[in-house]
């Protein structure tokens, strides 16, 4: 009977997370009949009893106050988070703290790799069992009608001004909000100082243009290492186009301009570094978009356009690296990047809309945002956390260009239009395979415009 974990069983009974039958079986398995008629009898009597609205538990400092609208309601929240988030310490601690504060709310947390979340969210919505809290880009799901509009809950909360303005774009579509931003990142530049020095090339700076950078990268022709780790990711290349002042969507977001001059020029410059000038690596297939990062860490490429998520591994690799913003376009006069990160949203039709929103508020509470930054290198969406970079572990000078670049970054909004996203992705892959950028982008424009509007 000593094997019975009484405190665990008491907790499960108190929270209604165990049925009487399961409790009986666990008592019999662990302690036999003695456990059932002895101390287990009290638990069995308590098990399954309907409880009145229970009291709230303690709320840790820095988290939102108890929401009385959901207190005492028996709710199970289904939460779908990205696989590289859900089991990280800031999140497992968050679940525990939230459940302590709301003892009647049970969290059913599942996970999926980032690329598989869209299918899971859509399938759940189609099957009539929407996910209560999902992790992706909320604006995409707001546009296709799978996310709940939460303007009213934002109004009640009154914290819009606390967020980085750019981060709110990840949850906004057509003027309405569909979720809460969770973290942000963007594309910027890493370079290997030693490899640049080995070919007497000048390292890029915050004012370097694509044209100037290209001249330096060509110095790697015929060398055993490559100048640049190329990626044919749709997201990355939208950022590289934005650096040249190009935008894939029209300003009203109701039409595409995939083959605009700025976009064509950026794609042509980047893709030709590989197949034409032979100073770039061959882009990896879709499932291994992290490969350029591996090659940079292995000192096989001298320059990499990537995000802050690569920095911990680059540091561990021992590369003598520097960072700067993306090139300032072909002529040195434009500034832009693509904003990544993610947001949480409530699945359309969720019966637990308010409780789900409450959980999302907890996820972006300052203590959790600080832990996400320090322990996961996922950067906050709460603006004033940047006032003291040391508090979020951001006082590393290598991060300065990233934070500067973030101000000019915008989300990859074409993702909200699946046909447009596919047309752009295919065109980018074709360009990196040696097709003429103008030709493939003209074809992409035709396909995307037919589905979205041009």
């Amino acid at each position: 009977m000593d094997d019975v974990n009484w405190s665990e069983l008491e907790r499960l009974v108190a929270h209604g997370q165990i049925s009487r039958r399961v409790l009986l079986r666990r008592l019999l398995e662990a302690g036999g009949i003695a456990a059932v008629i002895g101390p287990g009898a009290t638990l069995l009597a308590a098990c399954g009893q309907s409880k009145a609205a229970g009291p709230s538990g303690p709320v840790p400092a820095g988290y939102p106050p108890i929401n009385n609208n959901i207190l005492g309601k028996k709710i199970t929240l289904t939460i779908l988070l990205a696989a590289d988030y859900y089991n990280q310490a800031p999140f497992t601690d968050l679940y525990a703290a939230f459940q302590k504060a709301y003892p009647d709310i049970k969290l059913n947390v599942t996970n999926a790799v980032w690329e598989d979340i869209p299918t899971k969210v859509k399938t759940a919505a189609l099957g009539g069992t929407p996910v209560d809290v999902a992790h992706q880009h909320a604006f995409v799901y707001g546009h296709i009608g799978v996310a709940e509009q939460v303007d009213d809950l934002w109004s009640q909360w009154g914290k819009v001004s606390d967020f980085l303005p750019n981060s709110l774009q990840d949850v906004t579509w057509a003027g309405h909000r569909y979720g809460i931003p969770l973290d942000v990142n963007c594309l910027f530049t890493y370079y290997n100082k030693d490899l640049f020095a080995s070919v007497n090339a000048m390292t890029p700076t915050a004012t370097t243009s694509y044209t100037d950078l290209g001249k330096e990268l060509l110095k790697f022709q015929g060398k055993p290492v490559k100048a640049i780790g190329l990626s044919n990711s749709a997201w990355n290349n939208s950022g590289l186009a934005r650096a040249n002042g190009g935008d894939l969507l029209k300003s009203d977001e109701k039409g595409v301009q995939i083959n605009s001059d700025k976009v064509v020029a950026a794609l042509k410059w980047n893709s030709e570094l590989g197949w034409k000038y032979n100073v770039g690596t061959s882009p990896a297939p879709t499932k291994r978009q992290d490969e350029p990062g591996f090659l940079f860490e292995a000192k096989q490429v001298a320059l990499l356009f990537s995000g802050p998520w690569d920095m911990p591994d680059i540091k561990k690799s021992g590369v003598n690296f520097g960072t700067t913003e993306l090139p300032k376009g072909l002529d040195g006069n434009t500034n832009g990047s693509v904003q990544g990160g993610g947001s949480l949203f409530v699945g359309k039709g969720s019966k637990n809309r308010e409780a789900a929103f409450e959980f999302m508020k907890w996820a972006v509470a300052k203590p959790n945002q600080i832990r996400m930054a320090k322990e996961m290198a996922r950067w906050p969406v709460i603006a004033d956390l940047y006032a003291d970079p040391a508090s979020i572990g951001a006082n590393d000078p290598a991060l300065t260009p990233y934070f500067s670049q973030l101000k000019a970054a915008k989300p990859y909004k074409l993702e909200a239009f699946p046909e447009g996203d596919k047309a752009w992705s295919d065109a980018v892959a074709s360009a990196y395979n040696g097709k003429d950028a103008q030709t493939v982008l003209n074809e992409a424009q035709t396909k995307a415009a037919a589905a979205i509007g041009g």
């Binding site: 869209p118 299918t119 859509k122 399938t123 919505a125 189609l126 296709i144 009608g145 799978v146 690596t281 061959s282 882009p283 990896a284 297939p285 879709t286 499932k287 291994r288 490969e291 591996f294 090659l295 096989q300 699946p418 046909e419 596919k422 295919d426 892959a429 074709s430 395979n433």
Partner: protein
């Protein structure tokens, strides 16, 4: 008081009630997980059905669209090439190795264990391993090529190479799956026929052509049908290796259905393609069986 008789069950049902009870659970599962979804798919195919539900009945509109959809026909061509390529390589490889394992050679016991491993491993896992082997920058195959002072091959990047690479992965699984079937078939061929042919002066190839191949023809027909059906259900290795790219070079029909359904959210249209594919497969299978009878 007049006693009312309960209506008696028809004798046919009474006679078979026990049998119905036994098959009942399986029948329920069949209806719930196969027949009902198939009927639902047929219903969906007649609708303009998106993520938020039906936008209305459109009759055969989706089917008419399938006929005009160049990408669908392209996906069918890709699938057919994949089917022929992976079936030919997979079945030939299986037959060759089956001939080997039915001989008394050293270490055959170990080999019999090893050859079935790809079949019991998840298709996605197999394909993911091949994905690394095929990797342009870091893969083992290109490492070997460069060690031999040859150019690296763009196994998965180039549209001309990608389908071939996917076929190799399919054939790898096909060899493993079909090998024991062929091994059993080869062992059932009457040894006297070989002896008689040898006495008549037939060489090894002649014996294989005139005795072995006709004897295992029913098995080959069966494995070919399975290979065709399996090929038309292919998606795991495509997802792991290429996601249908580059430039739709490996866009097989099931991947295209997934694209239309779960990425573009055209569920009605995806359902129509599914039923179109079903009809196509029925015809191919019927032709295959018919040719066997002849």
């Amino acid at each position: 008081m007049i006693l009312q008789h309960r209506p008696a069950l028809p004798p046919a049902i009474r006679r078979h009630a026990g049998a119905y009870l036994f098959i009942g659970p399986a029948l329920v599962l069949l209806v719930v997980f196969n027949i009902w979804p198939a009927l639902y798919t047929a219903w969906l195919s007649l609708q303009d059905y998106g993520i938020l539900g039906s936008n209305g009945f459109i009759g055969l509109g989706n089917y008419a669209h399938v006929l005009r959809d160049g990408l669908f026909w392209h996906s069918l061509l890709v699938t057919s090439i994949y089917t022929i390529g992976s079936a030919a390589l997979g079945l030939a490889g299986a037959l060759a190795l089956a001939a080997l394992v039915t001989r008394k050679l050293p270490f055959m016991g170990w080999f019999r264990i090893l050859y079935f491993i790809p079949s019991v491993t998840s298709l996605f896992v197999n394909a993911t391993i091949f994905g690394w082997l095929f990797d342009y920058n870091l893969g083992l195959f290109n490492y070997w090529l460069t060690s031999l002072h040859l150019q690296r091959a763009p196994w998965l990047q180039d549209p001309n190479w990608a389908l071939f690479s996917v076929i190799v992965v399919g054939a790898w699984g096909g060899v493993s799956y079909n090998l024991p079937i062929y091994a059993a078939g080869l062992q059932s061929v009457n040894r006297d026929l070989y002896e008689a042919a040898s006495l008549d002066g037939a060489n090894g190839w002649q014996r294989f052509q005139s005795i072995t191949l006709p004897a295992i023809a029913p098995i080959t027909r069966y494995t070919v049908i399975l290979a065709i059906i399996g090929s038309f259900q292919l998606i795991a290795s495509i997802d792991a290796l290429t996601s249908g790219g580059p430039e739709n070079a490996t866009l097989v029909t099931i991947k295209y259905i997934q694209l239309q359904g779960f990425e573009f959210l055209h569920f009605g249209y995806a359902s129509a393609i599914t039923l179109f594919l079903l009809a196509f497969l029925l015809v191919v299978t019927w032709l295959q069986l018919r040719s066997g009878r002849e």
